[in-house]
Symmetry: D2
């Protein structure tokens, strides 16, 4: 299979470039009978949409999604769901000047060498604009998981630069432009962003994704472990350089006696594992963290090479996010939801007959 499809039973296949005619995707394998409308998808698309605050790119895109198939009389039919978003604000002139240059930290050079030439308009296929369709597809998965299993897939910005944000309050996340889960950190984030704007520079970030109410038993050992597929899904998001499940890299300096999550009849006493053991969900919350690199589209001049291999200088103009981590929040939720949905269908495909006589251990004691 080629690289633009994700999933085995619930599959998402996407197309589209930053400055092409349109972006689109096909969601295949969605169970029938789920109420679905464009409005359901628009909610998350608007959360990712550019130009929503002074902290993100000023490109103006309504990102209006149309459902072209797979939904009849308001319900999914079980056949493939086609969706499309037509590009509006393209401003190719912003990009013409770097047609001959390879921006450091960008995919310009690798696309040129892999394919022999490239769509240089806004990064073409390598632009994060592609993630709009992931969000649309993820919204289908989120709706199904919520409706059928009560699963809540949510993410928040857990760090930007040296500003760490703890999960104080899920409701707060939607009430500020940073997806910040701690109202007390908003000023610090705002100050950091203002500095960066002045410097014409960018910063990295950490995003945390949590799926509550995932039942025990999802995940396919040994290669398609739930956590391995989550890592695949999250690392495939533009600018992501690291993925952790549960305690992640903190495990390096933990002892077995601290790390292991004790099980009691009343519930698990901790969740260092992040809700996955042996590649299979434990029934606890599935927790993942991702590291986002600072975008390389900055106005600080840089040395580079051109398409002839000669030395050149580059200054990225155009409209860019000083921290791509902010808009990555709904994208991370989408990829987590798509992965969980795929494993939901895979699990019951093989194990629909299974009845375990062992009682389910609660996620935590009451």
């Amino acid at each position: 299979m080629s690289g633009n499809t994700f999933g085995k039973l619930f599959t998402v296949t996407t197309f589209g470039e930053s400055h092409g005619v349109a972006l689109g995707c096909i969601v295949d394998g969605c169970p029938p009978g789920i109420e679905l409308s464009a409005e359901d998808l628009q909610i998350d698309l608007d959360r990712r949409k550019p130009g929503t605050s002074r902290y993100t790119t000023q490109r103006r895109e309504s990102d209006e999604v149309q459902i072209l198939s797979g939904v009849f009389e308001g319900k999914t039919t079980g056949t493939s769901i086609g969706m499309v978003i037509f590009n509006k604000d393209q401003r190719s002139q912003d990009y013409g000047k770097i047609k001959e240059l390879f921006r450091p930290g960008h995919a310009d050079y690798t696309y040129q060498q892999k394919y022999g030439f490239r769509d240089y308009r806004g990064g073409g296929r390598s632009s994060a604009r592609e993630t709009a369709m992931r969000v649309a597809a993820g919204a289908v998965a989120k709706k199904y998981l919520k409706q059928k299993h009560g699963i809540e897939v949510r993410a928040y910005l857990s760090q930007m630069g040296d500003v760490k944000v703890d999960l104080k309050d899920w409701d707060a996340v939607e009430q500020n432009p940073f997806f910040c889960a701690d109202p007390d950190k908003i000023d610090a984030l705002d100050a950091l962003m203002r500095d960066l704007k002045k410097q014409g520079d960018s910063i990295g970030a950490k995003v945390s994704v949590v799926a509550d109410n995932v039942p025990v038993g999802w995940g396919e050992p040994v290669f398609d472990r739930l956590d391995a597929d989550i890592a695949h899904a999250l690392m495939s998001i533009n600018a992501v350089k690291g993925v952790e499940i549960g305690d992640g890299f903190e495990c390096v300096n933990q002892k077995g006696s601290e790390h292991r999550d004790v099980m009691t009849p009343e519930g698990f006493l901790s969740n260092h594992a992040g809700g996955v053991l042996g590649g299979i969900s434990t029934g606890q919350s599935v927790v993942a963290h991702i590291a986002m690199k600072p975008t390389s589209s900055i106005t600080v001049p840089g040395e580079t090479v051109d398409i002839n291999g000669d030395s050149a200088e580059v200054i990225t103009k155009g409209r860019h996010d000083p921290c791509v981590g902010i808009r990555a929040v709904p994208i991370a939720e989408a990829m987590m939801a798509i992965t969980l949905m795929d494993h939901c269908l895979r699990h019951r495909g093989q194990n629909a007959d299974v009845q375990s006589t062992t009682p389910v251990i609660p996620a935590q004691p009451k």
Copy 2:
């Protein structure tokens, strides 16, 4: 597809339990005409083999691999390669006593709930014993990559507990039981292991994998990015809880002006990206790091539940590694090599005709 196959064009499918009759795998898609013998595979199998030092489990397994098909007159034929390792030292009695218990931090509970019952002998399919076949398959990939592209895939233990190990010398790695790349750190590691043995506890670790001489252009956007597939491959290894590409989580506090790797006609001036941009290899070394959790098989008594959901106490006897990170080194190399090999074949399948007029930028200036 089910979960025991990895790869799209170069595929590895495995079977086998800790205390079953045998472990085996099928390597499909290997190009024909590659010289291959069991000896080639045994080298890496011996590096992973238990019982090689006092720092690893004392289970005695010769792990002798047999090639059953796909090789004729000493060369791969292009057809599927079957391999098998028969289990010898099984000692089921070590495990009978925990037949009714779920060991905290283990997959006992999740397997029981997913499948309705489980092979409780040594963890059955969830045991790291399964990784022996990954190493055998990885050795095929390593040989091909070395022979056809001069690619060197190597790993080392970069941290255990609070002992950090820098890459001082690749040769040193094979000269100590820790795969330690800095001879000056061996005493500290040895001391740490002795303490753990006394405490009957275990510790986490970090392993770093480096692939040198990977050509520019491998990786399939958008979902099958090279780094996304590497994350999938490495996260699928038992006990791995985190994966980083290049600077990984250090990116969170980096600025774009520091992070972006400057390109000059003489070469890249840095490799923060870890050799991947836009999901495609840059021609620099591909660098990944993994976090390994401390094994939960420790002799420190712990609270848990049994298969009836009642409270119980567990003490893991049997023969276990105080730090699973050590033996993970050859496994990490194997999974990196399998992923690179798959992308090598996928890339040329689609792009064999491509000729880029842009000169290749050296990995670093001479």
Copy 3:
């Protein structure tokens, strides 16, 4: 994977219903640098288009395809190609009256039972309208195969009812509304169609597909044999009930001494095998034949059941082809081309290094 994707390296994923908003597909894995425009696709779409002659359905669809991505400055970029055709002439009222009925010989009943409900408008996803996107995707493959390998993929109507048509002249095929390869048979076909119209009945057909200049070596034993994938591809076309490679069912009464195709240094002396041995192309023409059932959309009244399981009578009105075999000709070409293209990429992915010292045997002696 779900059911709306075909191919492993060159993949085609489709969506769309007979009376939905639009039909579309994503072609993934197409090599970069191929000149491609909507006009290239429109040629074959027009050959399949309804309403082109009095022998086919009078539904009016311009079937204008738009390319939404994957093509830049007139060339494929190597990224996924999105295409769409918006439906125009939908006339849902034609179908409302059978909303409650299951038409015998149609997928109404099976869709209802599989999914719990169905898009009853013109058969929804089960309508042959879906094949429009196969033709668009196939045109991409045909162009690549022609340009890079000189491969010609062509089909013709080889039988309708009891009227057998031999391949007299490829040029004739495009000069009549039946894709008839023998001008002397056109009157007989015309007469047969007139009778059927009078009777309000339909008839089956046989279509033959030939791919000339396919090189030796394409096809992946053992399950993904070239002929097995061709069978999969052709049997997936609506109304196809049989597939033959080469002599097909004539083999049942052949002896080995007649059937085997003798090889000489000057070339093969016959092609009973249809260009495939052991699942791999021989270098001869790849020849396949398909059996099309007579459409069940006829005006002859029939007994059936309704969605409550009660007895009912059905008369299909609406606009239908008395012989779906006619418009199947470009669809069969498309599926053959897509299959060959996928195997072209798969073959070179694994075997790009191979150099055989055995000279190639010509398809036939000069």
Copy 4:
């Protein structure tokens, strides 16, 4: 994915050559808790086994299968099932003499050109010996389908040369060496075989496969239709040149009014469709027919070329079946069962929630 795996959720991956060390397979995705032992598999292996009658090759192979994993305490665990058969009677000397020749009608030439060299011992991977593992894997599927759904998958020899055999009695099939379903035809088949032996020639055959009690709703439109996957599965069997579903090529001369299967509340009145409409099972028997070519391994001398491309004469000695159709009967059953099983799991993966309010129509009236 490479070519040695079949299926999406229930997958079978095989390895092994005619004269290699062993044949083996991995069955992945089998539901847990199914009672399974080597004896269950041996029954069908013995039906396919060479040397069982004077009508088949005299090669002596006990074909004893060992289960190496995936079964614990007599039940499948849900993890991958490894199986192996070690080759015994190899007699390579039989084949040495044709090391330099390409046997007409065989895969010798195509393997040589695809891979650059070949395992010439008995055809290596292209030998029908490979099908032993399909039969072993198919036996797993047959057991599951029988136990969970009451599905019976059976096949019989329906024609050899000009001797047609109707399905008179399923019990008769197992009581003669031809898998002949009509006791009155056994003498004619015996006479035909004796003639062929005298002539040193071979003959083609037709095999029919029937799956009774398949529920309505299995199959994934549009490309993975149940009939399309059956065609793929059956055409992938060595020597198969044609596949029909239901009436197959008879449809070419049928009218819609004859072909369409009338539905009544009491049941379907006919089964021209062969149990599949729109790619989804109807609840009737699934019926397929395959055309087997006459084996090219005959003692009639033939003209051919050698590995240098020079003209040569070939006489195939060794031990061969005058009609490969006979032993194809259990293989056809196996591939049908594997395909049904895969679709059983795929269907419930997506549609486990579905409840249709439409009553199920019986396969036929009482």
